[in-house]
């Protein structure tokens, strides 16, 4: 059972919902349905599951139904058909009391234009969620001060919302949503109204907070960069339906259709693509116990001029140059040890972003080694792959060597 399950969710605006549903199931287009029945399909047969602690981003342009969808989750908008299930409890059939409990304890929402209460101080904005539950004032104040400190607003408790900048106001919005310790955070274009720089800060802060809080976040945005930065998984929405669900890399590397493809075309891939998706298997590796002759033969065979050295547990030991191996053979040495080098060799973890590898690629004369936390060699990245990765083109043929 998933934390949050959405099954075949529809929101149809208008009176002839049943007819519209039937036509939609028969594959009639939205425009046609509107003409025939006068009903608009806002959310069209959407299903997905979200796990605990996951940041799930719903991305789409305005009019794609994403804001309607998120409002169906806490029933600010009542869905027409389908199920929303939180921890096994059906949200759609809940009565008023149960729905209030859900909103008070399990789900909180952050809004695009903040939706702060202008007549209340920051502190009283934040503790509103406790006030409606009848929590006594002393406890409310304590909790509000605590949450305000976590979002970095200590000292602003007795100000009014209109005395704060946009970024600070949205921190209040976030604090207000966090005051009840909800499991699920619904964020509707939460950072879209902010300046780009502030938006970036807020995204970083959310990521930082999320590492501590481990909430389940449903984040709505029209900004692909934001989606890629925040999302563990991304659902791309178009015209009320979800056209693709996947990790940021899935979406970039395997767009499901032209719509998604168009969407991702202009993205700064270097900030998304990770080492593991552009690395390749090293064509040849030698063991520490192998001698220089063996190393030379391997290089010859693979048509490369340097070779990575690992131990028997595939731990990276270093790299060997062809010239130096040749010199050893001349001298009649049996062991490679003296020429195995680590200086000038760059190692990265599989989830390093391309943008961070660019400076290494320009400095290093060897391919970049991708190793896991135990320094096991997972793959290598040649310089041309770094460049190619940015442009989204997979290099054909052999590019192992430089």
């Amino acid at each position: 059972m998933s934390h949050l399950e959405i099954k075949n969710l529809y929101k149809i605006f208008g009176h002839n919902a049943d007819d519209a549903l039937r036509m939609s199931e028969d594959g009639v287009s939205k425009a046609e349905i509107l003409k025939e029945t006068g009903a608009t399909i806002g959310v069209n047969n959407v299903s997905f599951n979200i796990e605990k602690g996951e940041t799930f981003v719903v991305m789409g342009l305005s009019g794609s139904g994403k804001s309607t969808l998120i409002r169906c989750l806490n029933r600010l908008i009542m869905p027409t058909y389908g199920e929303v299930i939180v921890d096994g409890d059906d949200v759609i059939s809940a009565d008023d009391e149960k729905l209030r409990m859900l909103r008070r304890k399990k789900m909180a929402m952050v809004f695009q234009n903040f939706g702060l209460f202008p007549h209340r101080t920051i502190r009283r904005n934040v503790d509103y969620g406790l006030e409606v539950q009848g929590v006594e004032e002393e406890k409310r104040i304590k909790k509000a001060y605590e949450v305000l400190e976590t979002v970095g607003l200590k000292g602003y408790e007795e100000q009014r919302p209109n005395e704060l900048s946009g970024g600070m106001q949205q921190r209040v919005g976030l604090a207000r949503a966090l005051v009840n310790d909800p499991d699920i955070l619904l964020m509707d274009e939460a950072f879209s109204a902010l300046d780009p720089l502030i938006r970036n800060d807020m995204q970083d802060q959310l990521i930082e907070l999320q590492e501590k809080m481990k909430k389940t976040i449903v984040f709505i945005t029209h900004d692909l960069d934001e989606a890629l930065k925040l999302g563990d998984r991304i659902a791309v929405m178009y015209d009320g339906t979800i056209v693709q669900i996947g990790t940021p890399e899935d979406i970039l590397t395997n767009p499901a259709n032209d719509y998604v493809k168009n969407f991702v075309e202009n993205v700064d891939r270097s900030r998304v693509i990770k080492a593991e998706s552009i690395m390749r298997k090293p064509r040849a590796v030698i063991d520490t116990k192998d001698g220089p002759k063996m190393a030379l033969r391997q290089m010859e065979k693979a048509q490369i001029s340097s070779i990575f050295v690992t131990d028997k547990h595939h731990k990276l030991k270093g790299v060997v140059d062809a010239e130096e191996a040749y010199a050893l053979v001349e001298k009649g040495e049996k062991s490679l040890k003296s020429i195995v080098k680590t200086e000038g060799l760059y190692e990265v973890s599989p989830d390093t972003l391309i943008t961070d590898m660019l400076p290494m690629a320009s400095k290093s004369k060897y391919p970049i080694a991708v190793v896991d936390e135990n320094r096991k060699l997972k793959g290598i990245i040649v310089r041309v792959s770094v460049i190619a990765g940015i442009h989204g083109k997979h290099m054909e043929g052999d590019a192992n060597d430089e």
Partner: protein, 299 residues
């Protein structure tokens, strides 16, 4: 041209006659209700006048009456001072204005008028604000019932419902108060409705998403945010109530309308002017005080 009277006898709708019958019916069967209303309104007006010191009027010495009047004038000035956030100009203006009314020998009429206006306004607000809230929550009720009713109340010439008011309540301040209530209620209904509807949708959603009950949403979010607009309605209602005094005095409601009426009927320009100026002074004081309340609430 000759055919017109014939046509009109054929098609004459006896609207006026039906209305008279309705009034007859109401006076016959609901007199107990009107008596009860009259009792309450009259009691409120009397209580007001008592508090303002009018019971001293018929005593042998004018001294007590004068002292009582000036105590009241000082108290009202102090209220203005407090309500306006300690604006000294408004306080002095209030004091001088009321002293002016006293000095043209119209203090008694002024108190009658204040009593009538405030009682009518309070009742209009007690009915009007809940009506405005109801209108804001129900589009159909608002569009098909409340709005036409308000249009009717505001545009129907006041003299027309003065007559049934007299039939139901007799000559005197009660009929005047009822006519004033009807005439002055629409602004506060409209502006309460407007104020609540103007609360941004996202703010409402935020309130709901945090688990408010409908009542909590109304009392903690919608009404406080709408308050400045509602108070603008309160201000308008009070001023409209004051503008009814001259008309109300035609049916014996007393007050500052009397000198104005006397002035008109006997071509006594001086008396009419004194009455008129006194009305203006009261209007300005009530307007500034209620407006100051509105401003301090929106901060």
């Amino acid at each position: 041209m000759n055919s017109l009277p014939i046509l009109s006898t054929l098609f004459r709708l006896e609207l006026g006659e039906w209305f008279e019958k309705l009034i007859d019916f109401l006076t016959n069967y609901f007199s107990w209700l009107f008596d009860a209303v009259a009792f309450v309104v009259e009691g409120m007006v009397d209580a007001f006048e008592f508090v303002f010191g009018l019971q001293f009027i018929n005593q042998e010495s004018d001294v007590i009456f004068t002292i009582a009047a000036f105590i009241i004038i000082v108290i009202i000035s102090l209220l203005a001072w407090l309500a306006s956030g300690k604006k000294i100009g408004l306080t002095i203006g209030t004091f001088l204005g009321l002293t002016l009314i006293y000095s043209v020998d119209l203090w008694e009429s002024a108190v009658e008028t204040i009593a009538l206006v405030l009682v009518a306004a309070v009742i209009a607000l007690l009915i009007g604000i809940p009506l405005g809230i109801a209108a804001s929550r129900n589009q159909r009720l608002s569009e098909s019932v409340i709005r036409p009713a308000l249009d009717f109340m505001q545009t129907m010439p006041a003299f027309v419902y003065l007559i049934p008011a007299v039939i139901f309540f007799g000559l005197g301040p009660v009929a005047g108060a009822i006519a004033t209530i009807i005439f002055s209620m629409p602004p506060v209904v409209r502006l309460t409705n407007l104020g609540i509807r103007q609360v941004p949708e996202e703010v409402i959603e935020a309130g709901k998403s945090l688990g408010s009950t409908p009542k909590q949403l109304l009392l903690k979010v919608q009404l406080p945010i709408a308050l400045p607009t509602i108070l603008a309605g309160v201000n308008q209602t009070i001023l409209l109530a004051l503008s009814m005094v001259v008309i109300a005095s035609m049916i014996g409601a007393g007050g500052l309308g009397n000198p104005v009426l006397t002035g008109i009927t006997s071509l006594d320009i001086g008396t009419g002017f004194e009455g008129g100026v006194s009305v203006v002074v009261l209007a300005m004081i009530l307007d500034r005080i209620t407006q100051a309340l509105g401003e301090s609430s929106s901060k």
